[in-house]
């Protein structure tokens, strides 16, 4: 359930005359709901305090997201 297996990468074209330093890798998130057509009964649950914090009762639906603020990462 790490962030990584929900992240997809792609590599945009880098032109020789682009004015800004190129972003080599772009990413987007594919949350787990995309792979579940209909939630099965009796899936494992988070403990309630953790479920409140994470926003879902179901580990199968949990989609972590970390801020890119200050990372100098893909988003300037």
């Amino acid at each position: 359930m790490s962030a990584n297996n929900q992240l997809r990468e792609w590599y945009p074209f880098v032109g020789p005359f682009d004015p800004c330093p190129p972003i080599i890798v772009k990413t987007y998130v594919v949350p787990p709901n995309q792979y579940i057509p209909y939630q099965p009964m009796n899936l494992p649950q988070f403990p309630l305090d953790q479920a409140l914090k994470l926003g879902t009762l179901w580990p199968a639906l949990y989609s972590p997201y970390e801020s890119k603020c200050g990372t100098g990462g893909p988003r300037p």
């Binding site: 709901n33 209909y38 914090k53 994470l54 926003g55 879902t56 949990y62 997201y65 801020s67 603020c69």
Partner: protein, 189 residues
């Protein structure tokens, strides 16, 4: 009818005065894919959707109002003690000119909310696919908002709201499956 519980769905904490971020959060307050649009969209569509999924639209539409309240609290906390100069520097000068520190249903660009943002097509699949798209767009908006602040308390609330969008999109997909199901599935071919 609704029963109001006098607390937020999830605690909203903001650790610094940041009117700049308040302006961006307006996208989820009065924007096309914001919480107001979501609540009004679902609570209106529910009347003419097949009865098996009315309850889902009712519940999610109601929760969207709880989210709207969280966003309002964030914006209020981020701006309530900001000086006129700070508001102006954050791009909220026009808002101050119109309404002092009051909030309004506008998007991050200051464009007033309009019912033209939402639809009711009267076709269950068309309506539910609109709802799924709205949830995914709101999820993406939350991602960009989380990217724009280094305030971990604010990020915390926004991450909660983002996860709720994921769960709602899941439930709307299930509603599509319910709508698709053949009601006379007993047939044997």
């Amino acid at each position: 009818m609704w029963v109001y519980e006098k607390k937020l769905q999830y605690p909203v904490r903001v650790s610094k005065c940041d009117p700049r971020m308040a302006k961006f959060l307006l996208e989820q307050y009065g924007g096309a894919d914001g919480e107001l649009a979501a609540a009004l969209r679902y609570l209106n569509q529910r009347y003419t959707i097949p009865d098996k999924v009315v309850g889902l639209l009712n519940d999610i539409g109601t929760e969207e109002f709880a989210h709207l309240e969280m966003i309002a609290t964030m914006i209020y906390k981020l701006t309530k003690d900001a000086t006129v100069e700070q508001l102006e520097a954050a791009g909220l000068g026009a808002n101050y000119a119109q309404r002092d520190h009051a909030m309004f249903y506008v998007n991050a660009d200051g464009v007033p909310w309009t019912a033209a943002y939402i639809q009711a097509k009267g076709d269950p699949l068309a309506d539910l696919y609109e709802d799924i798209a709205a949830e995914e767009k709101a999820r993406a908006t939350y991602q960009w908002l989380i990217d724009m602040t280094d305030d971990v308390d604010l990020q915390d609330g926004l991450k909660f709201l983002r996860e709720r969008e994921v769960v709602h999109a899941m439930r709307f997909k299930e509603a599509v499956e319910i709508i698709k199901a053949d009601r006379e599935a007993k047939k044997v071919f």
